[in-house]
């Protein structure tokens, strides 16, 4: 079943074309790594898919046109965080995770016992239940990222969009995080779109790679990526370094 279908998507910032003619499709349960150099349009693509930036072209989620799709109910999002949260922010991890349920509430929003239970379940699933009562700003980078991941899972999304989730993590936390996302994809069948600038690492976990550089340069499996002549021309010896790690 097609979960996401993107046809000829383009995004312009003022007069600069950040993305042009992006076309790809994701099946339900796919794990797609969106890779590319800095400024290649990775974050722009997912912001367009989330409705955060205007775009031209067509996007379908689960067969529904973009304008008819209620993103907030079906998509979990983990935004890019280059720095950690302010240690003085007055909220504990449990409050932050429970805020993931806001997406499915109408005005005036109210959280019920069931929402708090789901928040605790998400924390338990990610092995961070013991952090529930701790202030968000006092957690380590890896712990904060897992709290935010738990927040994006509270409403049981069908699609999970993660923007450079490991950018501020140390190598050990990075690996744990990637494994957690892979397990979510395999065990819960969540469709994952994960933005990363590290093609080698994400290639280890994702089923498909979408390589961007203002447009789609490559879309396929990691094996195909390593055998692609286009990518050989693009990377030169760099391709060998990326693929050799596996």
């Amino acid at each position: 079943m097609r979960m996401i279908e993107v046809e000829d998507l383009s995004v312009k910032y003022l007069d600069i074309e950040a993305l042009s003619g992006v076309t790809f499709a994701a099946e339900a349960g796919d794990y797609i790594g969106i890779v590319g150099p800095n400024g290649s349009g990775k974050t722009t693509l997912i912001k367009a898919l989330l409705g955060l930036v205007p775009f031209t072209g067509k996007v379908f989620f689960n067969g529904k046109a973009f304008s008819e799709f209620t993103h907030n109910r079906h998509v979990g999002y983990l935004p890019q965080k280059m720095s950690f949260y302010d240690p003085r922010f007055p909220a504990v991890a449990r409050e932050i995770v429970a805020s993931g349920a806001y997406c499915c509430k109408k005005f005036p929003k109210r959280l019920f016992a069931s929402d708090h239970s789901r928040a605790m379940e998400a924390m338990e699933m990610l092995g961070i239940a013991e952090l529930a009562g701790r202030p968000i700003g006092k957690l380590s980078g890896g712990e904060q990222q897992r709290v935010l991941l738990a927040r994006s899972l509270v409403h049981s999304p069908e699609v999970l969009i993660l923007d450079e989730p490991t950018a501020a993590l140390d190598p050990s936390s990075r690996e744990t995080f990637y494994k957690t996302v892979r397990d979510l994809n395999r065990e819960k069948g969540v469709t994952v779109l994960l933005v990363s600038h590290d093609a080698a690492t994400i290639g280890e976990y994702a089923g498909k790679l979408l390589y961007l550089d203002g447009k789609v340069i490559f879309y396929g499996s990691f094996g195909e990526f390593c055998g692609s002549e286009t990518m050989t021309r693009h990377f030169g010896a760099g391709q060998h370094i990326i693929c050799h790690r596996h």
């Binding site: 955060l52 003085r88 007055p90 932050i96 805020s99 005005f107 927040r151």
Partner: protein
Amino acid sequence: MAMDILNQITEALSYAFIQRAVIAGCFMALGCSFLGIFLVLKRFSMIGDGLAHVSFATVALALLFHAQPMALSIPLVGLASLVILELNEKTRVYGDAAIGLVSSFGIALGVIIASTAGGFNVDLFSYLFGNILSVSDSEVWMTALISVTVALVVVLFYHDLFAITFDEEYARVSGIKVRMVNRILVLLTSFTVVLGIKIAGTMLVSSLIILPGISALQVVKSFRSTIALAGVFAVSSVILGIFISYVLDLPSGAVIVMVNFVFFTAAFLYRRVKG
């Protein structure tokens, strides 16, 4: 000594103007402190200062045209708050710079009107420092109305405000109408500031917005407790400030701010000692 002070407080409470000051001050303190938490955490707390400066100009304008200062200030300062937000969101002007821009324009305009018109400088300068002891019955009602509105908005939009304060982009993805909620927040701030200048004056009103919030942030770790404690600090500072100023014959607005400063220092030291 203690009996003497108690007698003076009892005597003070028998005056209608003190009763009005306490009631209006408490309502104002609650409104300011509730808004202050969100503004402080959004790094937008100086908007109170900026809007107070704009209200200096609008009061000067009202005095020039012999109009009611509040009647003219409420819509104009409200408009200024929306201009600050638009500058921040839609142009390349950062939030603090947008506040500075509108604030300096307000002060400059006020000074030009005051110097060219002449004759009402004394009235205008009374708004610089405020006088809570001169609030009228209608001002008490207006203050109560705006503070109840603020409290209602905070209750009804609590989760929206929490989400926007923590992570605006995620709030937008969650379907929260960020633009609308931000506008409600700054408009309520503008109305509160206009009414607050009567109490603390344009020079000090922003401290009623900032200080209770940052004091509470030193002590508690959950969001709801922070809002509640900020309210307690704010109301206590008004009550203590009015009585201390009455006993020591000092300006009430300034004493209220000083009490808030003492609360902040105590909370700060408590946090340092507790770790």
